[in-house]
């Protein structure tokens, strides 16, 4: 869409890390191939998702406009970017922020992208990512290049891959942590990014780190791989060892599974190899066909934690030694160092800081809820609360100025959809507060009732059933207007909202959780939320809430009001909300809310959702892309071979015969390797190995043979390999490109033949 799209590549040449630049070039070629119909839509969908380019609501080319289902006549017509996903339909670009860590320049880049390619808003997610909405697929390579130049990747932000590695945003400065998990999170993120053992999952895989067991910041128990910092004294050496308590198989979704303890202590140097071993077991044994049971939590459940542990440890034993296991840890530790910009103010009492004329009460409130003393004396962290995780481009730029002015650019996103600025000297707090207030970022209430967390819901998500953001905005408004009972015990409660049962808003771990459902009333579909009470946010999401009753969306504020009032009036001394819910029991709580479960007769406002006047309908729901497409490594490999061949053809057109010949040869190797990999996962990238294995497994067995041409196409590879070191003429390069096409076609035929045979149980 952007006129400048064709210029960014050359503009940023040399400014992007080479592997990221190459990745983006590949994706751009895949876009071109898809537009020409040379790349299958399922394959393109998964490759797109693995670059974080996600579908959005209405991308099937139709939308219920409130009167009728309207066909959206996009200029690119029937061209798709995935099954039932129109090319021109706006999409979401997810941007991975490992551990939530950003610097000032990166904030500025996000600001630029939000205003140039999106709707001016960057959205912080519940997994510390940043998302841009309403993005055109044609703009995504430019977005990715600009991010890469800022050292940010979108790779594997979606799809069946290792998602963003999250970590406690207070890591390194928290009073209670065992040690700073940041370098370990970075090392794991780097190690697993694009790792060959992580390319054949049936679903996504989410790791998380926490510095302690008691707080919520890392939410390790709802992750596929949860790591809690731990130290122990080695009984033999008497020396202190650094490591992790390791959990596996946690996850929310429709039915939440708490992660199971894998090992009470793993030494830090075992972190990367054990994660790799878990990934290999998940890739090998995890469900691939039934998407609803493909997360690691189901594999752990089915096998039992003991068996799963046994398999992982066996896998660990046979892993080829990888120097990156320790190199990445050492490098991350050497490269990661945070320091304050200004001297700390040891003796300053936060509550008595003055210097704000006319706003001192607001300032005190903000100090109380939005600042937290660091373990380093004289410094605090400051939470910047974002309404529903949204921040404007101008605010991002202002935030970049603020973190430059008061810190050494130490800022992180949080799973509560906020920012945390670290290493703020206590003496700077009044000025920093004024700077935040000037750009409307000085709201108090971080982590409090008003700080409602919500997934995108029906606003942009294809799976959304009810408007989670609409409800969240309404609740924030009413809480801000003091519509609910005022009490410290209520202030400390958490509200989390998901637009459907998939739990992206993490409703299971809220005191007051809500997820979207639909009910038919008087012949009309009515948006509802299921009320889930008493989840535990603390202790890394220690326990999950109790579903009580489904209530029409428009009555949810009354639900909050009624429950908070009851809690204030009826709680026992020292009783927290989770305990209150348990003591009252489901029946009594349901009884308390039952009269709200039906809309008042004749009130048609209940037939539409918050912030959306259209008559409510489920007709806009689509097929989600959370899971992506299960594409086998063979399909991926053959897709990559097609792309290389396409690049060879382009080189031929440009008259670069050498490049064309090299690429054509490489494309054949890639296709052959893809076939070999179906039987031999660890096949190397060495050309001799590939050709030898291919010959043994596919040529000698005649599996690759064409019914008419026999082994002719395989011989194209063997000939090219034998002449790999020879100089190619223009003519021979042209022939090689043509032969490569035939070889790749034959590889597809072979793959199809084998998968059909497997399907029929013949092989």
């Amino acid at each position: 869409m952007k006129a400048s799209n064709s210029h960014w590549k050359s503009q940023l040449d040399g400014k992007m890390p080479e592997p990221l630049a190459r990745e983006i070039d590949i994706f751009e070629t895949e876009i071109a191939l898809r537009k020409q119909g040379k790349l299958e839509e399922r394959l393109f969908a998964e490759t797109r998702l693995r670059r974080g380019a996600y579908g959005q609501r209405y991308d099937n080319g139709q939308r219920n406009d409130g009167r009728k289902v309207q066909k959206l006549n996009f200029p690119s017509g029937d061209l798709t970017k995935g099954p039932n996903t129109m090319w021109d339909a706006p999409g979401m670009q997810r941007i991975k922020i490992p551990g939530g860590g950003l610097n000032a320049s990166q904030l500025e880049t996000l600001a630029e992208l939000a205003e140039e390619y999106s709707d001016g808003i960057a959205h912080v997610t519940t997994r510390q990512d940043v998302q841009l909405h309403y993005v055109h697929i044609d703009d995504t390579p430019s977005i990715m290049r600009r991010l890469a130049a800022a050292n940010i990747t979108t790779r594997e932000a979606c799809g069946n891959s290792v998602r963003n590695v999250t970590a406690c945003p207070y890591a390194g400065v928290c009073q209670d942590e065992t040690f700073d998990v940041t370098p370990y999170a970075r090392a794991l993120s780097r190690f697993l990014l694009g790792h060959p053992d992580c390319q054949n999952f049936g679903r996504k895989f989410k790791p998380a780190f926490s510095g302690c067991a008691q707080h919520a910041c890392g939410l390790t128990s709802l992750h596929d791989l949860g790591l809690i910092a731990k130290k122990r004294v080695n009984e033999v050496t008497g020396r202190e060892e650094v490591g992790f308590e390791m959990y596996v198989g946690g996850g929310l979704g429709a039915v939440p599974y708490p992660a199971k303890l894998f090992e009470s202590f793993i030494p830090a140097e075992e972190l990367l190899p054990l994660a790799q071993a878990v990934a290999r077991v998940f890739a090998r044994l995890g469900e691939k066909k039934n998407r609803s049971r493909a997360r690691l939590k189901f594999l752990v459940q089915d096998l039992g934690i003991e068996k799963f542990r046994e398999l992982v440890l066996e896998e660990r034993k046979i892993l080829p030694v990888d120097p990156r296991w320790t190199d990445y840890l050492s490098e991350a530790q050497a490269q990661f160092a945070e320091a304050p910009l200004k001297p700390g103010a040891e003796s300053v009492d936060l509550v008595t800081i003055s210097g704000l004329n006319g706003a001192s009460e607001d300032f005190k409130k903000w100090l109380k809820t939005n600042t937290r003393s660091q373990r380093q004396a004289g410094y605090v962290t400051v939470t910047v609360t974002l309404p529903l995780g949204d921040i404007t481009a101008n605010q991002l730029r202002a935030l970049s100025d603020i973190v430059r002015c008061y810190t050494r650019e130490t800022i992180r996103t949080t799973v509560e959809q906020n920012f945390v600025i670290r290493w703020v000297s206590k003496s700077d707090l009044p000025e920093l507060y004024k700077a935040l207030r000037a750009v409307k970022l000085g709201r108090p209430g971080a982590g409090a009732l008003v700080d409602v967390v919500s997934c995108p819901g029906t606003d942009t998500c294809k799976l959304g059933i009810s408007s989670s953001r609409g409800l969240a905005a309404e609740l924030r408004k009413q809480i801000g207007e003091n519509s609910f009972v005022s009490d410290q015990a209520v202030e400390d409660l958490h509200i989390k909202i998901s637009g459907c049962f998939n739990s992206c808003g993490q409703h299971h771990i809220a005191d007051l959780g809500f997820y979207g459902v639909s009910r038919k009333i008087s012949g009309y579909a009515v948006p509802h939320f299921q009320v889930v009470l008493g989840g535990e946010w603390e202790h890394n999401a220690g326990s999950y809430g109790l579903p009580v009753v489904a209530i029409p969306s428009k009555n949810i504020p009354q639900v909050v009001n009624r429950l908070t009032e009851a809690f204030v009036k009826e709680r026992l001394s020292g009783e927290i909300f989770k305990e209150f819910v348990k003591r009252k029991g489901k029946a009594a709580l349901k009884n308390m809310l039952d009269d709200l479960a039906r809309p008042p007769a004749g009130d048609r406002s209940f037939f539409s959702d918050w912030g959306d006047p259209r008559e409510y309908s489920l007709g806009d729901m689509g097929v989600g892309e959370c899971a992506g497409e299960v594409i086998s490594p063979v399909d991926f490999g053959l897709g990559a071979a097609e792309r290389e061949l396409f690049e060879a053809q382009l080189a031929l057109e440009k008259g670069d015969q050498k490049q064309a010949g090299d690429l054509a040869y490489r494309s054949m190797l890639t296709a052959a390797r893809a076939l070999v990999q179906a039987e031999y996962t660890d096949i190397s990238h060495d050309a001799d190995d590939i050709v030898s294995e291919f010959r043994q497994r596919y040529y000698d067995t005649q599996l690759f043979f064409d019914p008419f041409a026999g082994g002719k196409f395989a011989n194209y590879l063997f000939d090219a390999h034998a002449r790999a070191d020879q100089t190619r003429s223009a003519e021979s390069s042209r022939y090689l490109v043509e032969e490569a096409q035939l070889f790749i076609d034959a590889a597809h035929s072979c793959s199809n033949k084998l998968s059909t045979a497997v399907g029929a149980g013949a092989r």
Partner: protein
């Protein structure tokens, strides 16, 4: 130097003006009820009122000094936008347009004025919404084509002077630029007299086919 801008002489560059954004300031911004505009924008989608494909309504009322309420379109977005605390009706051209810079300026300004006319008519009874008829912001939403620098500001000024002379029918106005190089190339215009939407449309009659 960015690839989108071209040096003509040593001291002057030519800028390709694509992705033009225009914002018409609203009268009595404190009285404008953004909530009331949401059904109006949905009706625009229902009726596909503007010849550009309209897709969705994004509600950012919860974001202070934010995009407000946005009609997301394929070729362009329309919004009642409160960026920088200045409430206005905004047109954000996303798709590339052929023609000259003057053609593209005219297309964007004509689009926002027509939208203003429509919005003034569609706003529910009892609610008010009208442009103030004097203040306009124009920015170029592509940093590579039009970075915010002295030379590009100068190039934009030259294009704008030509265009604004026509739009304001020769009436005088002030033109200023946002000096922040990190922000989009942005011009703020304040005309000395007030124009209604129909007067502004009148000055832009005889549209070129783009």
């Amino acid at each position: 130097m960015s690839r989108g801008i071209q040096w003509i002489r040593e001291e002057q560059v030519k800028v390709e003006l694509q992705h033009i954004n225009v914002k018409l300031a609203l009268r009595d911004p404190d009285e404008v009820d953004l909530n009331a505009l949401i059904p109006v924008f949905h009706s625009w989608i229902q009726d596909q009122v503007c010849g550009e494909l309209l897709l969705d309504v994004a509600d950012y009322r919860h974001v202070p000094d934010g995009p407000g309420v946005v009609v997301i379109g394929h070729e362009a977005d329309y919004s009642v936008d409160n960026s920088d605390g200045r409430l206005g009706l905004r047109y954000n051209r996303k798709a590339v347009i052929a023609g000259t810079n003057q053609d593209r300026l005219e297309q964007a300004v004509r689009s926002v004025i027509r939208a203003a006319q429509r919005l003034e008519e569609d706003v529910p009874e009892g609610k008010q919404l009208a442009i103030n008829g004097q203040e306009i912001e124009i920015w170029i939403n592509d940093r590579l084509l039009a970075p915010s620098r002295e030379e590009t500001r100068s190039a934009l000024e030259s294009e704008l002077r030509t265009f604004l002379h026509k739009l304001f029918a020769g009436n005088s106005y002030t033109l200023s630029f946002d000096p922040d190089p990190r922000r989009l190339l942005t011009a703020r215009i304040a005309c000395d007299r007030k124009f209604s939407v129909s007067e502004l449309l009148e000055t832009l009659k005889e549209p070129k086919i783009l």
